[in-house]
Amino acid sequence: MATKEYLRNKEGSNISKIVVDRDLCIGAASCIAVSGETWELDNENKAVVTHANAVDDATLLMSAESCPTKAIILFDKENKQIFPK
C-alpha cells in the first residue's frame, strides 16, 4: 500500500496524524473543496497535505469524510484510527 503520512501537532487538536492511501486516491479533489488550506493535488494527481495544522478538527474530519474513495485516514494522539471508523 502506497501511503503518505503527515503529522499534525495543532494545539487543542485530537488528530495527530493524517494518512493518504495513494492507491485509493483518484484526485477527485473533494478534500480540497472542503479544505483548500490543508490539501492540494500533486503532479501525479494525488491529494497531498500542504498544511497539516491549518484547520480545526471538525473541518479536517469533514475533508476526510468527503473523499469518495476513503483514501484519507485520520489517527488520534493514541495512534488509534478515528476515520474511517
Binding site: D23, L24, I26, G27, A28, A29, S30, I32, A33, V34, G36, W39, E40, L41, D42, N43, E44, N45, S66, P68, T69, K70, K85
Partner: protein, 412 residues
C-alpha cells in the same frame, strides 16, 4: 400520516451530505431520506473507476456510510421508494407505494438518470449504462463475457470505462458525434491529446459518427452507423448524458427548466422546498447565471449549503465547480466556465508535445473564469482560487504562462 421536520428525496451525495449537516446542527429534528435505490449511500464516483471494476479496490469500499450511521443519527431511510406526487399546500409527498409523508422542509436531490438510447430496440441485452450501482453490476457481468465493445459518447464515462475495457482485453471502438473528444469543453489541441492517449491505449475512435441501428436478436451483435458502416460488438456502453424526471415536481408548481430552478440559496420558487445536486439548476454566483452541473463535488458542497439554509442560516452557495477524470495515463480536470467566446483570451501552460497542458481562460474583462488541465492538475487549486476571487490578469500574463513561476504568490 408520518411527518418529518426534514424530508430528503434522494439518497446520493447531495441528500446524504445535507442530512449529515442537518443532524449536526439539529440533534432532535426528525429526518427521513427517500431513495429509489435498494442501497444506502455509496460512492457513485467509484462506479466509473477501473480499479473498482477490476477488483483492485475492495467492493465494500463503495459504501460511504454504514447502516449503523443511519440508526445512530435517527435517520429514517426509505429505500426502493419513488416520490410520485407533491402537494406544496398540504406539504406532503406521496410515494409510489401509496405512503404519504408530511414535511416541514423538503429537499429534492434526486440527481439524474442516464439518458437512454433513443433507438428502436435500444434495450437489447448487452446495452449498458453507468449511473447507479445496479447498472454497474450489470456492466461488470457483461464485461466478463464480452469480446468487442462499442462505447458511445465523448465524456467521462467513455473515457474511464474505455480504459477499463482495454485493461481487461476487450476490443473497444468509441463512437462519438463530436469532431474531437470532449468538444466543445476542450479545445482541439487538448482533445487531440486525449484521443492520442486513447488510441495509443488501443481504442479505435470514430468521430462525427452516430449509431442508426442496433443489430442482434435479444442480445446486441453490432451497430450500424448513419454512414452505413457496420461494427460488430457484444457490448455497448452508452454515456450520452443525464435526464431528470421531474413531472411530479413540476405538477406541484415548482419552476423547472432542464433542472429544478433555484436561487443561490438553493431555494425553489415555493417556500420550504429546496433543491441540490445534479438536479438543481441554480443561480451560480461564480458564473453569474443559472446552470445545472452534474458532478460529485458540486453536489456534496451544495448538500452542505442547502442544509444550512434549511436550518435558516441564509448562506449563499458560491463555489468554483470542477470535474476530474483519469485514464490512459492522463489526469484531466476542468474548472469554472470553459465555454469559449471569441473575445476570450487563452493563456497556455506547458504544451501538448510534452504531454502536460493547461489552458487558463480569461474573459473580456481580463478576469480568469475557467481552466482545463491535462496532466497539470497540480495547478487546479490555485487557479480555482483565482477564479473565485475574480482575479484580473493585468500584467501577470507571462507569469501565468510560466510553469516555473509559483502561482500561489498570486493569491492575496
Amino acid at each position: 400520516m408520518e411527518e418529518y421536520k426534514y424530508l430528503i428525496i434522494g439518497g446520493g451525495v447531495a441528500g446524504t451530505t445535507a442530512t449529515e449537516t442537518l443532524r449536526q446542527n439539529d440533534k432532535d429534528g426528525s429526518i427521513a431520506i427517500v431513495s429509489d435505490e435498494p442501497y444506502i449511500f455509496y460512492s457513485r464516483i467509484m462506479l466509473s473507476k477501473p480499479n473498482f471494476f477490476l477488483g483492485k479496490i475492495p467492493f465494500d469500499n463503495i459504501w460511504l456510510r454504514k447502516k449503523e450511521w443511519y440508526e445512530q443519527n435517527k435517520i429514517i431511510f426509505l429505500s426502493r421508494e419513488i416520490a410520485v406526487k407533491l402537494n406544496s399546500q398540504a406539504k406532503t409527498v406521496e410515494l409510489k407505494s401509496g405512503k404519504i409523508l408530511k414535511y416541514q422542509k423538503l429537499l429534492i436531490a434526486t440527481g439524474g438518470e442516464a439518458k437512454t438510447w433513443n433507438l428502436p430496440e435500444g434495450d437489447k441485452k448487452g446495452v449498458c449504462y453507468l449511473r447507479d450501482l445496479n447498472q454497474a453490476k450489470e456492466l461488470i457481468g457483461n464485461v466478463e463475457t464480452a469480446k468487442k465493445a462499442v462505447v458511445i459518447g465523448s465524456g467521462f464515462v467513455s473515457f474511464e470505462m474505455g480504459e477499463m475495457m482495454r485493461l481487461v482485453g476487450l476490443e473497444v471502438t468509441l463512437i462519438m458525434r463530436e469532431p474531437y473528444y470532449w468538444y466543445p469543453l476542450l479545445d482541439e489541441e487538448s482533445g487531440k491529446m486525449v484521443e492520442d492517449a486513447m488510441e495509443n491505449g488501443g481504442v479505435k475512435i470514430l468521430r462525427n459518427s452516430e449509431v442508426a441501428e442496433i443489430k442482434g436478436d435479444q442480445k446486441i451483435e453490432g451497430v450500424i452507423l448513419k454512414n452505413g458502416e457496420k461494427i460488430n460488438c457484444d457490448l455497448a456502453l452508452v454515456g450520452i448524458g443525464l435526464v431528470c424526471n421531474l413531472d411530479w415536481v413540476k405538477n406541484a408548481g415548482v419552476e423547472i427548466k432542464c433542472g429544478i430552478l433555484a436561487n443561490e440559496y438553493l431555494e425553489t420558487n415555493i417556500p420550504d422546498i429546496y433543491t441540490a445536486g445534479d438536479v438543481a439548476e441554480f443561480n451560480d454566483l461564480v458564473l453569474g447565471e443559472k446552470i445545472q452541473l452534474g458532478n460529485w463535488v458540486n453536489a456534496q458542497m451544495q448538500g452542505r449549503t442547502v442544509a444550512l439554509n434549511m436550518l435558516g442560516k441564509h448562506q449563499p452557495f458560491k463555489f468554483v465547480s470542477f470535474y476530474t477524470a483519469q485514464g490512459f495515463g492522463l489526469n484531466i480536470a476542468m474548472s469554472g466556465d470553459v465555454r469559449i467566446k471569441p473575445e476570450y483570451k487563452i493563456i497556455k501552460r506547458d504544451s501538448p508535445e510534452i504531454n502536460s497542458f493547461a489552458r487558463i481562460i480569461v474573459d473580456g474583462n481580463d478576469e480568469i473564469i475557467g481552466a482545463t488541465f491535462i496532466n497539470r492538475t497540480q495547478d487546479m487549486s490555485v487557479i480555482n482560487k483565482l477564479i473565485e476571487t475574480n482575479f484580473k490578469i493585468s500584467d501577470h500574463e507571462s507569469e501565468l504562462a510560466d510553469i516555473n513561476f509559483d502561482l500561489k504568490t498570486l493569491i492575496k
